[in-house]
């Protein structure tokens, strides 16, 4: 079995630590079992199942560190992996930034495991594919999609008394449905911890509607437009923003969070406490979020609790490393497992109804950074872009390339809707003014 129980993990890692001759030892045990199915051209293309369990051992002598791992679990193998990590540590150069292991920690109760997700069978996956294929055929459309579910377990133990254990489940489903002539394309995606929340028929219906509705798209001039970004459209930009939150980069002057301090003058090196966004922006992490839960500890075993990154448009916390926290005399704040962006109660439908002139964007594709100083990104709209006039979707439009920054996006908020889970995060639909489209694309 590649998924081990908490008790089994504790016994196993206690045994591993008993072999140690190093100053410090830390062990990480990671197990995964998963299955997937992929379909295209209205038929199943590939499918498979895989599993693995890996033990990583980090041994430390002073500031010399070595890491070794193994996936065999007899006593001789366990001792061997400890000795190897010790040998490697003795060969490694000293790392002046090495920090000692954490001691015993306490954690919030985890809510990341849903037993039904662990019970998905090859037949269930095949049925999910059929839930897209059958209605697509009935509508003379072509479907392609992907379903993958997994169960994971993580256990961390070190010689300073820390022990952490978590199991999690996850299911991803996405479907693209296109017209036979390639003139229309619709898409939907779903991501949950609990497979019971997944309705592949409902998601496929949305993709079908968007596919039929996007045929014969009209051209609009590139420029600045009011946009309604569905959560799948804004999550990529928010993800880049979240990824760029790093105290060390900010303090070193190479981040959008760096504070320009005049030469010879003292001052804060980063923008902690500064207002950078519209006051409605509230982005935080919460391991116990009921729909988007994440592990209650970071990869080094340090507890993760609810933490605000941006509130009232103001930078509240910037994640760092234990070394950088010590170096700068600040509190260690580990990166969150996922992010939650608060919103309102307005539905997407209402948002459209309240728009005089704008563009509805289903999702953004191939997002790449152009300038880390401004977080300017480029990419394209995809699989359902529509012109809105006087509260109604008027007609489909051709895809645009955008050149825009999430900083600008979060300063130009007109309205925020009800957040939904997307890619493990919670994101609201957003109405944004003056979103920059720089050119047209012929892609459908």
């Amino acid at each position: 079995m590649t998924i081990v129980t908490e008790q089994h993990a504790k016994e196993l890692l206690t045994k591993v630590i008993a072999y140690s001759k190093a100053d410090e030892i830390e062990c990480n045990l990671d197990g995964r079992i998963g299955g997937n199915i992929r379909y295209a051209r209205n038929t199943v293309s590939t499918a498979g199942e895989s599993s693995d369990l890996t033990l990583a051992v980090q041994s430390t002598f002073g500031k010399r560190v070595g890491v070794a791992t193994i996936n065999e679990f007899d006593d001789a193998s366990l001792e061997k992996v400890v000795r190897r990590s010790e040998e490697l540590a003795k060969l490694a150069p000293e790392n002046p930034e090495h920090m000692p292991n954490f001691g015993k920690q306490s954690y919030q109760k985890s809510s990341t495991y849903f037993p039904n997700t662990a019970k998905v069978t090859p037949e269930d996956r095949a049925q999910a594919a059929e839930n897209s294929i059958k209605p697509s055929k009935a509508n003379d459309l072509v479907s392609s999609g992907f379903l993958e579910e997994e169960v994971t377990c993580t256990a961390i133990m070190n010689s300073s008394g820390l022990f952490a254990y978590n199991t999690a489940t996850n299911v991803d489903f996405s479907v693209t449905i296109r017209t036979k002539d390639g003139k229309g394309s619709g898409w939907a995606s779903r991501n949950y911890s609990d497979v019971n929340l997944l309705d592949t028929k409902e998601a496929s219906e949305i993709a079908i509607e968007k596919s039929k509705g996007s045929v014969d798209a009209k051209e609009m001039e590139p420029g600045k437009y009011t946009v309604i970004l569905e959560p799948a459209a804004s999550v990529g930009l928010l993800d880049r923003l979240a990824g760029a939150f790093d105290q060390r980069q900010a303090d070193e002057g190479r981040s959008f969070l760096s504070n320009q301090v005049e030469e010879g003058k003292e001052g804060p090196k980063n923008k902690l406490g500064q207002k950078m966004f519209d006051e409605r922006v509230h982005i935080y992490s919460d391991p116990n979020h009921p729909i988007a839960p994440s592990a209650p500890f970071a990869g080094n075993g340090y507890p993760r609790n609810k933490v605000d990154w941006i509130k009232d448009g103001v930078i509240q916390n910037i994640p760092n490393t234990p070394y950088w926290a010590k170096h700068t005399g600040t509190k260690y704040v580990p990166r969150g497992g996922s992010f939650i962006m608060a919103g309102g109660d307005e539905t997407l439908e209402n948002m459209i109804k309240n728009t005089r002139r704008g563009i509805l964007v289903t999702r953004l594709w191939y997002i790449r950074a152009l300038d880390p100083q401004t977080l300017l990104q480029t990419g394209l709209t995809r699989d359902g872009t529509f012109y809105i006039e006087n509260g109604k979707i008027k007609y489909p439009i051709k895809n645009f390339r955008f050149n825009e920054s999430p900083i600008v996006m979060l300063n130009n908020i007109e309205a925020l809707g009800k957040p939904v889970r997307i890619d493990g995060n919670m994101v609201p639909p957003m109405k944004i003014r003056d979103f920059t489209f720089s050119s047209l694309s012929d892609a459908v």
């Binding site: 051209r41 499918a47 890996t54 693209t176 080094n300 300017l376 394209l380 720089s438």
Partner: protein
């Protein structure tokens, strides 16, 4: 590229870094352990093939893989991480009831291997319920017992760690002394030891080596900060690539040094420091139409995105519609034999056989002997990239040998071979190409890149930008990106340098598929000119 199963070493190493390498870390000496005996691999593979056939498979293949990686990460004056990884296991792929099934296991006992094969058949049968078109494989004659190895001179895994650390820290020192404030440098080494067996009667043992040594340097000034990455290429070579021989350097006066079949990392890092200082003060580009001269370390990525991906047959047919997308290069355009992909001097070819390239192997991951073929000839679209189960859909009888899987754990599927631009028959130099340009920009190194899901509209940046006035490089400029349409862009190609300037660039971690897999692929090209291309300014006030 974001894969859920990237190893996150934050919990087991000092420098938190997510690396797209699958595998388990092992000690340095274990990397050099003798691999599993080929006779035992053959026995195990036969157990898998027989178990699959016994359960009703009409075709089966087994891939026994041992994947070794090493990466060394340094930052400024210290080593962040030294990690050796190993991953071994078996993947079994079958056709039952005309449907593909796949299963893999790291437990290589005969029982476990047979069970994986049976599970693959069970998956195939479950899916066949909804299968409408049975899989059709192009014939491949079994080759019996054969072997192949990347032609390396120095096995990078055998080079002492100290030599690797010294090289990276010397590069860091050179960048810092010359103007950079920060630098991260990394050495990635990959060794795929893979054994393929199929019910066609092939038993193929291959030992594949790849290497990449990138760096990322930053300079901070009162104007803000600028970044510059290394101009070295990932290659299918041993440690000899890092010898930095003088004969492999192509010097462009007033601009950069290009690297051919070996790389001087320390020299490039020193140049990066100086160029970063210039970047902080460089003038911002005036948007408009320019003639572009693209160096190979930049153009390789444009080829990758605007030629390599759109000519993948699985995209063209719709198999990637839900993820990577489809392609503008549809079958009707190919069938017409008149689709002008580029100007008539544009000749693009595919191969998995070029020396030093990342795609170079003897056989692909479904036992097809590798070869070279034309994709675009005299500007006209003539072929695609295909696997055994696809090639009948373009009325061809022989697979192109484009099947690849990133590990034993994942199912193999169509991946890009090397896709390259043929050099000018006249062996003119890069500077000969520049000297005819009145008002242009010379771009070196790969920067930001983005292209739509059918590969029409793209926007590319770079690392270094130089203004060209009246045939001469004048000064370094900044904030450059060009936007174009694939067909329009390649039809604006007016000149290229000759074979002496031809260089291989590459992508070490090209992502595709669901679940996403990485592969490594090279693109060869000479310095090439494109006329009248739309350049935008990427500076923005926020």
């Amino acid at each position: 590229m974001e894969r859920r199963d990237f190893i996150k070493l934050s919990g087991v190493g000092a420098g938190a870094i997510a690396l797209p390498i699958s595998g388990m870390a092992v000690s340095a000496e274990q990397l050099l352990d003798k691999p599993m005996d080929v006779i035992y691999k053959k026995k195990l593979a036969d157990i898998a093939l027989n178990a699959a056939k016994a359960k009703g498979a009409t075709y089966a293949d087994a891939r026994i893989g041992r994947y070794l990686n090493q990466f060394v990460t340094t930052r400024e004056t210290r080593v962040d991480n030294i990690v050796n990884t190993e991953s071994a296991g078996i993947g079994v792929r079958v056709i039952a009831n005309g449907t593909w099934g796949f299963a893999s296991t790291s437990n290589m006992t005969p029982d476990s291997v047979a069970k994986a094969a049976e599970q693959a058949v069970a998956v195939a049968k479950a899916n066949s319920k909804f299968q409408t078109v049975p899989v059709q494989l192009a014939p491949v004659k079994g080759v019996g017992d054969v072997s192949w190895q990347t032609p390396i001179k120095k096995n990078a895994l055998e080079v002492p760690i100290k030599d690797k650390v010294d090289l990276l820290l010397s590069a860091n020192d050179a960048a810092l002394k010359n103007g950079a404030n920060y630098i991260t440098s990394i050495l990635f080494l990959v060794n795929e030891q893979k054994y393929f067996a199929s019910t066609d009667g092939s038993y193929i043992d291959q030992d594949v080596h790849r290497l990449w040594a990138p760096f990322f340097a930053t300079a901070v000034g009162k104007e803000g900060f600028k970044q510059r990455t290394g101009l070295g290429n990932p290659v299918g070579m041993g440690f000899e690539y890092l010898d930095g021989k003088e004969e492999d350097k192509i010097r462009i006066s007033g601009a950069n040094v290009g690297y051919k079949n070996s790389y001087d990392m320390v020299e490039d890092a020193a140049a990066a420091g100086k160029q970063l200082k210039a970047k902080l003060k460089a003038k911002s580009v005036e948007p408009g139409k320019y003639d572009l001269v693209l160096d190979p370390a930049h153009l390789m990525l444009t080829i990758h995105e605007s030629v390599g991906h759109p000519l993948e047959l699985d995209r063209v047919l719709g198999y990637e519609a839900n993820f990577a997308g489809t392609s503008f290069a549809t079958l009707d355009k190919w069938k017409s034999k008149k689709f002008q992909y580029g100007s008539d001097i544009v000749n693009l070819f595919a191969d998995k056989t070029q020396d030093y390239s990342l795609g170079n192997v003897g056989y692909d991951d479904e036992g097809v002997k590798t070869k070279e073929w034309d994709l675009v000839k005299d500007g006209v679209l003539v072929n695609y990239q295909a696997t055994r189960d696809q090639v009948h859909m373009i009325d061809q009888k022989e697979s192109h040998g484009c099947c690849y899987s990133q590990s034993w754990r994942d199912v193999q599927f169509q991946r890009m071979p090397n896709v390259s631009l043929k050099p000018n028959e006249k062996d003119i130099s890069a500077e000969d190409v520049i000297k005819d340009v009145e008002n242009g920009i010379y771009i070196a190194g790969r920067g930001s890149f983005s292209i739509d899901q059918q590969r029409y509209n793209f926007q590319f940046g770079g690392q270094l930008f130089y203004e060209i006035k009246n045939g001469k490089i004048t000064e370094q400029i900044e904030d450059v990106a060009y936007q174009s349409n694939t067909q329009q862009f390649w039809n604006s190609c007016t000149q290229m340098a000759g074979k002496s300037d031809y260089r291989l660039g590459g992508s070490f971690f090209d992502g595709k598929g669901q679940p996403s897999q990485v592969s490594a692929v090279s693109h060869g090209c000479p310095t090439t000119r494109f006329n009248d291309i739309n350049v935008i300014n990427t500076a923005r006030k926020v």
